[in-house]
Symmetry: C2
Subunit: 115 residues, 2 copies
DNA sequence: GGCACCTGCTAACTTTCCTTGGCATGTGCA
DNA sequence: TGCACATGCCAAGGAAAGTTAGCAGGTGCC
């Protein structure tokens, strides 16, 4: 078994599209140091909570971060996010393998089908 | 030294944004098997030349493919593309390092500056 | 000359993403 | 009760990306 799981074509696109954003990269970088809750992270990054929440949602949808709701000592509900220890190696060969499992949204054809 | 060169934050975003597209992934996959010229590749992928050209341009801008203009035996000018043997490993730590060199278009602050 | 192949560009439309602002809810504490 | 903190959602405008269609140029061959 390798350190990198075989990515589905669609998964690969989703993960790449998710990471292809400066804000989301900063979020991952910040969470790589230590987990944080939404409001605190928003202050730390200097962006609005609404914006951060959208990015966190995408990161979570791609499986790159996870959320855990906790109660602070003073009873506040805090939603702590932490980064998932992913390892993704990108090479032409990996991409060629992933393309085999690519869903085609355009014409809805199946993998291996000829046009 | 690792197999992957240290990516700049901006470079990383550019490469990720470039690869986060089904068509461009297919192009890379096709070129990974063998190099091809524009028209032939367009037919092979079932997309228009104009569309392919835009994607090829982005891939070349990100340094993932290279173009070489050649003359076929019958004198036709053929623009052959081939994939660059890139190796990019993506982990939270790599991202954290790349973020340090991220250009901030929003407020234009310098790397290392505190807020 | 006309057809078939190759190359490139640009304008314009459509779709998607990004971002902001506002609103609603709940808690603890002075 | 009012303030400060936490959570979330939704609507709307602006910016960027994707896609198509059309035009123009070049060569070889029947």
């Amino acid at each position: 078994m390798s350190t990198a799981p075989p990515p589905t074509g669609d998964d690969l696109v989703r993960v790449l599209a998710t990471l292809a954003n400066p804000h989301r990269l900063r979020v991952v970088a910040a969470l790589a140091r230590e987990r944080a809750y939404v409001s605190g992270l928003a202050r730390q990054l200097g962006i609005s909570r609404a914006l951060l929440q959208v990015h966190l949602r995408k990161l979570a949808a791609a499986g790159l971060v996870t959320a855990r709701l906790e109660l602070s000592e003073d009873g506040k509900a805090m939603n702590y996010y932490e980064v998932e220890p992913f390892v993704l190696t990108l090479t032409p060969a990996v991409i060629a393998a992933a393309v085999e499992t690519l869903t085609v949204p355009d014409s809805g054809e199946q993998p291996g089908a000829q046009r």
